[in-house]
Amino acid sequence: MNNAVLLQSVRFIVLVLLQVTLLNTINLSQYINPYLYILFIITFPISDKDNRLLFIFLSFLLGLSVDLFSDSGGAHAAASVLIGYLRKPYMRFSFGVSYQQQGQKIAQSPFSQRLIYISLMILTHHLTLFFIESFSFANMMYVIQKTLLSSILTLVLILFSISMFKKKQ
């Protein structure tokens, strides 16, 4: 148990540092910025029996840490706590109602189900984030454009990270 807590803490810190020092400085285009740190929320080990309160609070804390570094008010915190809360319904939707009983991990699930789940999480997060950052309805098209383009890069990075750290059976 202690080992798991330590592992998750390290992942939390590494992902935040990676995000603010490296990924936020990539200059591909003004539309594209990947947000890999939500990998923490996507892959956090949690089941139905566990206490979701802690998980929702951790999601919030993750977003707030990124906000602290990037002068974005509370935009990352809001987007992160939203997908932290929506994770359960999204998992149910993508993996089916019986996903808990099988006790499967995300890395071992069928690729199509995994893709739906991760895409839903990323799109929700990015849309909320860019919308709150923009803080107006006037730039709707621009926000959507930015969401789609950034989501593609985030998706590629997250799929790559998951397959890289997949445990061999």
């Binding site: 603010v20 570094f69 990037s70 974005s72 803080f135 730039n139």
Partner: protein, 276 residues
Amino acid sequence: MRQIIIFIVRNKNFLLFLLLFCFSLGITIHSHIFHRSTFINSANFISGGVYGTVTNISDYFSLKTYNNRLIDENIRLREELLKNGISEIDSTVTSSTDSTTNYVLHRAEVYKNSYKAPKNYLLINKGSHQGIKEDMGVITSGGIIGIVENTSANYAVVQSVLNTNSQINASLKNTNHFGTLSWNEKKDYRKVQLTDIPKQANIKIGDTIITGGMSSIFPKGILVGTVEKFTFNQSGNAYIIDVKLNNDMTNVGYVYIIENKDKNEIEQLLETTENE
């Protein structure tokens, strides 16, 4: 009472989510309304320390660019000296009416820079202990960067010109018509928009835009960029000009912070005039 407790226990996840979500939105709205007093900003010892470590390493990769920039600036200054003649660099010339002596420059290094968000900020490694205060102008050898917005003991957050809140007074170099410099997030980070220049002004593509000196933040004559494209506004009596920034906002490096020694005096004077 029992009902309420049962309701809370049953919906505790949703209630916690709602609380935290509203709190985050609250911070965001707060930072939009009172943009001077946001309590979540990167001018703190944690982010300052992290960005400082990273900058110390990444500096080595930019040494050549910074050197070239310094040499370019030196060449420009030396040319100016030769143009004015050496005799004028004489202590007798500096009289009390010379307005440029009212400005003091501080140097700082940029620790964090952003240019892709609608509201972009830079973090610099000088703060209130080194005499940096809010509302000081920030420039490089290539032109304007932004205005200091928040300071902590050793760091300061600078509102970039690439910020939808940014409003800077700027004018045409040739004709002295002045307008307001702002930024539209839909345009890219190489361009800012200059509005309110009356249509009487004669504008050509490639004209130089400089700061207007109508505020106590920037002295007159600091380079902004060049006119890239212009159209008229809806009523047709003023220009909307796309200005190509002379600075590369994606690679800033070192900056100068301008302190106006007469700032308090000017502001007091304006205040008393308005109150009368």
